[in-house]
């Protein structure tokens, strides 16, 4: 077994543990490369099936290719696709840059709050109807008690402190010093009513591992990651007002792996193209304590 095999098999173990422990489980799919790898792993874990819904938080500021790619794969892989939106904040224009808020508050409104309300069932949720190919508003959205998320420890400081199974209380708080221990493939899967648990199967993967795995498995990813001829590509995907492409010639997955391993990005952090990180004092801790992924 090489280390990519080890990472893969460990992630599958975690996914299966999550599936056995939560009756109301979902997986967040941001359409980015990490959560797409996660989706791939889920299909492996369950022998070609994905036995839980995939949830996308649509800020409406997502780059349009992302949504098209989402719906294409959802239909092709027969995914139970759900998306949620903070309708209220959008109506009141509490956004950046059109509205009156800064980047951090915009993230809080359109991502953190939207996520919170989508997960607990109080927000507006839409579900893909495979017969018609279009989305319908859910009449009676139920809360999810387990949420699988594709975050990685190497992304930035606070994420390196996460557990594989991380309980969040009713207020969605993350109490870092108080996290229960986790060892020997045993996780904290018991929890009082009202809390939900975040599950992180990709915690030990690095950005390079993700790309190497995409290469090995031939996983389809959105074209935004590749240089389309202008010498620009996205290294990390988010909302267009806050995510900037990087200068790069990489047109294929092979070239991205090469670039990360030996080329210009070998020593530059992945999220350096995300403006909200800088605004939060170099880390995402404040955002993440409040529930940001």
């Amino acid at each position: 077994m090489n280390y990519l095999d080890k990472l893969e098999n460990n992630s599958i173990y975690i996914l299966r543990e999550a599936y056995s422990q939560f009756s109301n489980l979902c997986m967040l799919w941001s359409i980015g490369k990490d959560s797409t790898v996660l989706l791939w792993l889920a299909r492996k874990a369950f022998f070609g099936n994905v036995p839980f819904p995939l949830v996308h938080i649509d800020t409406t500021y997502k780059i349009s290719e992302m949504v098209a790619y989402r719906d294409k794969l959802a239909l092709e892989w027969k995914l139970d696709m759900v998306y949620g939106t903070n309708v209220e904040a959008l109506e009141k224009q509490q956004t950046f840059p059109q509205g009156g808020t800064n980047r951090i508050d915009c993230c809080r409104n359109l991502k953190t709050d939207a996520l919170k309300n989508t997960v607990n069932g109080s927000g507006v949720r839409y579900r893909l109807n495979h017969q018609t190919g279009s989305y319908e508003q859910e009449k009676n959205p139920q809360p999810f008690t387990g949420v699988i998320v594709g975050l990685r420890a190497d992304e930035e400081g606070s994420r390196s402190k996460e557990r594989y199974f991380s309980p969040r209380n009713k207020k969605n708080d993350w109490q870092i010093g108080e996290q229960p221990p986790e060892f020997w493939n045993q996780f904290n899967t018991d929890f009082p009513l009202g809390t939900h648990v975040r599950v992180h199967p990709l915690l030990d993967w690095t950005e390079l591992d993700v790309w190497k795995y995409i290469l090995r498995e031939q996983i389809p990813v959105t074209s935004l990651y590749f240089n389309q001829g202008q010498g620009l590509r996205y290294r990390s995907l988010g909302c267009y007002p806050c995510t900037f492409p990087v200068e790069s010639q990489a047109r294929t997955v092979e070239e991205i792996v090469e670039e990360l391993e030996k080329g210009k990005f070998a020593n530059i952090a992945e999220r350096s193209g995300r403006a909200q990180d800088a605004e939060d004092g170099g880390g995402l801790e404040e955002l993440r304590k409040g529930g940001y992924m």
């Binding site: 077994m1 280390y3 098999n9 022998f47 070609g48 036995p51 400081g157 402190k161 880390g283």
Partner: protein
């Protein structure tokens, strides 16, 4: 070339400089993201703080303001030899549970001791936990040598003290290294300030650790994670899913589920895109279907019918450590989780409580936060497991108290309350028999390849012991196969049964007060561990008779190698089946170098030390 990978944990008392050492290691090997060093340096300047390498790791704001590590952060780095994940464990007593979380995932540890503060509470406590967590490779770094002008005497003094403590726990360090994290001495580069030191740098020490091999040679074990049938997607397979923790599974094999004891045969091993596999080994998250459909559930352990069976018990003897806020106490309900089983549990009895820092043993009926204990746990129903000496993966558990993992431990043995079976107690004790024979009983277990010299040595040892008036008897694996074991052949299952019987007979003879000389290839660790457990640690002497395979082939006293090489003998150890070298034998005899006479003397010395 395929590069290796290894997880390392760095432990030790608070403020002894763990994060600084890692920060240094990352910076000096060019492993930091571009701009990170400058960013943190600039932040320090802005807040009029002196820059420290530890700030690179203590990325959280809480930590930067208090200067301590709260949780185990992980970071990645690589050398030409392998890729590392380094877990930075907190040294604060309050955060011991986070230290355990980090350390449990490591295969080797760096333990840091501050030269000025010396050995502190967590320098000792962390070591104890490492040994419970099963981490065998530990390098000790004596840090802040710059404060003592890199004095060799200061270093040696600390090393001697710590060695003494390690000895009490039966542990040995792989190395002791003098370093200065702040100055970068002996971290990534050797230092001219430490000219008296000839050993490795921290970086070299890391590369010197060995990676743990997956236990593919042990008996097959797969804790069932779930039984899947996704009919809504027109998928009619009924798949038993789980990760293989040891051994290997092949299509067509007879499997047994424990503790339900239900049996079936493997029909197929399932892959992702419908690909079919014929075999899968330890480490793989896999799934298989059965020939005959039986009702099995998550939690059971799958084993092969032909191999050593797991144990089943509802009462277990364990060693554990407790991290919960509330003490572990009797008459309270907990959950025990082992593999994928979860069962209600109560504490039945404590034989001793251990202060893991001072190694003070106490007798009381509760275990407090951060203490360790040896206890008996009573479970609501029977579980399947292996004693940890036989299989680490299926021999360790966690305890859940009020929704949270609050402790962990290892199982030494199951306690059977066998109905209608009673041990018939006589009027003569083992001690009396020993007095009568003027010796203690002992099992000397010779293991090694065919032709390594096991029997030749044992014959001479037996001759000499009798000449000295001792009571000894030789149990030769080949001889037993002519009588007691004549119904057994050489299948894997029969080999396991063969060893089981030899171990049982050896244990009886030992109890009779004899010095028993067992000669058996016994190629697997689990076989020898079974014998050791059956006989008892205090009366078991494992002798590894070692000779290169080529030597054994050239000796070929029984002509068996020639046959095996011609393919006339299936599964011949060394040729077509694996010999696992013993992990910790009491004695190694290299017969490439030693004569039979010299080997005999070595064995006699060891026997005399134990028996008389």
């Amino acid at each position: 070339m395929q590069r290796d990978d290894l997880n390392i944990v760095i432990v030790g008392h608070v403020d002894h400089g763990k994060s600084t050492i890692i920060g240094r290691l990352l910076a000096d090997t060019g492993s930091l993201p571009q701009g990170k060093l400058e960013q943190v340096q600039e932040q320090c300047q802005r807040n009029s703080k002196v820059f420290e390498y530890a700030f690179l790791l203590d990325a959280l704001k809480d930590e930067r303001s208090q200067g301590i590590t709260i949780d185990s952060a992980r970071c990645f780095f690589q050398t030409t030899k392998r890729r590392y994940m380094i877990l930075d464990a907190p040294g604060h007593l309050e955060f011991l549970k986070n230290m355990v979380t980090g350390a449990a995932r490591a295969q080797a540890a760096l333990l840091v001791i501050d030269a000025s503060e010396g050995i502190q509470e967590n320098s000792k406590r962390h070591l104890y936990l490492l040994s419970m967590l099963g981490i065998e490779q530990i390098a000790v770094l004596v840090n802040k040598m710059d404060l003592f002008n890199y004095s060799q005497a200061k270093f040696q003094g600390l090393v001697n003290l710590y060695k003494e403590f390690m000895k009490k726990l039966n542990l040995q360090a792989t190395a002791f290294l003098p370093v200065s994290g702040r100055e970068g001495d002996n971290i990534a580069y050797s230092s001219d300030k430490l000219q008296w030191y000839q050993g490795r740098t921290v970086l070299e020490e890391l590369d010197n650790f060995t990676s743990k091999k997956l236990p593919t040679g042990s008996p097959f074990r797969l804790p069932v994670q779930g039984v899947y049938k996704f009919t809504e997607n027109q998928d009619n397979r009924r798949i038993i899913a789980g990760t293989i923790v040891s051994g290997q599974l092949t299509v067509g094999e007879d499997v047994v589920f424990y503790p339900s004891l239900k049996k079936s045969k493997v029909k197929s091993i399932e892959g992702f895109n419908g690909e079919k596999l014929t075999t899968r080994t330890a480490g793989y998250a896999t799934g298989f279907t059965l020939e005959k459909q039986i009702y099995v559930r998550r939690g059971e352990i799958v084993a092969l019918e032909k191999e050593l069976a797991p144990e089943i018990a509802a009462k277990i003897k364990v060693s554990l450590f407790w991290l919960g806020k509330l003490p572990l106490e009797k008459q309270k309900n907990y959950f025990l989780k082992i593999g994928t089983q979860k069962v209600g549990m109560q504490l039945e009895d404590i034989s001793q409580v251990i202060d893991t820092s001072e190694l003070i043993y106490d007798q009381r009926d509760y275990v407090e936060t951060n203490e360790a204990a040896q206890c008996i746990l009573k479970l609501d129903r029977e579980i399947a497991f292996d004693p940890v000496e036989i299989n680490q993966e299926t021999g360790r558990f966690v305890i859940v108290d009020n929704y949270q993992i609050a402790g962990g431990g290892i199982i030494h043995q199951g306690i059977q309350e066998k109905e209608n079976l009673f041990f018939s107690q006589g009027k003569v004790t083992y001690q009396e028999r020993c007095q009568h024979l003027k010796q203690k009983g002992l099992v000397v277990w010779f293991t090694g390849l065919s032709g390594a010299g096991k029997s030749s040595i044992a014959v001479e040892v037996e001759r000499e012991l009798l000449a000295q008036g001792r009571a000894a008897y030789r149990l030769d694996g080949d001889n037993l196969r002519l009588g007691l074991n004549s119904d057994l052949k050489f299948s894997q299952a029969d080999r396991v049964e063969n060893i089981r019987r030899v171990a049982e007979v050896a244990a009886l003879f030992q109890d009779a007060g004899l010095i028993v000389l067992v000669c058996c290839i016994s190629p697997h660790n689990f076989m020898r561990e079974f014998a050791r457990k059956r006989v008892g640690e205090e009366a078991f002497l494992e002798v590894y008779v070692q000779a290169a395979l080529d030597t054994c082939i050239s000796r070929d006293t029984k002509g068996l190698y020639q046959k095996a090489l011609r393919g006339e003998i299936a599964d011949f150890t060394g040729i077509s089946s694996l010999y696992e070298e013993p992990k910790n034998p009491e004695l190694i005899l290299s017969t490439d170098k030693l004569s039979i006479e010299e080997s005999k003397e070595e064995v006699l010395k060891a026997v005399i030390a134990r028996c008389f």
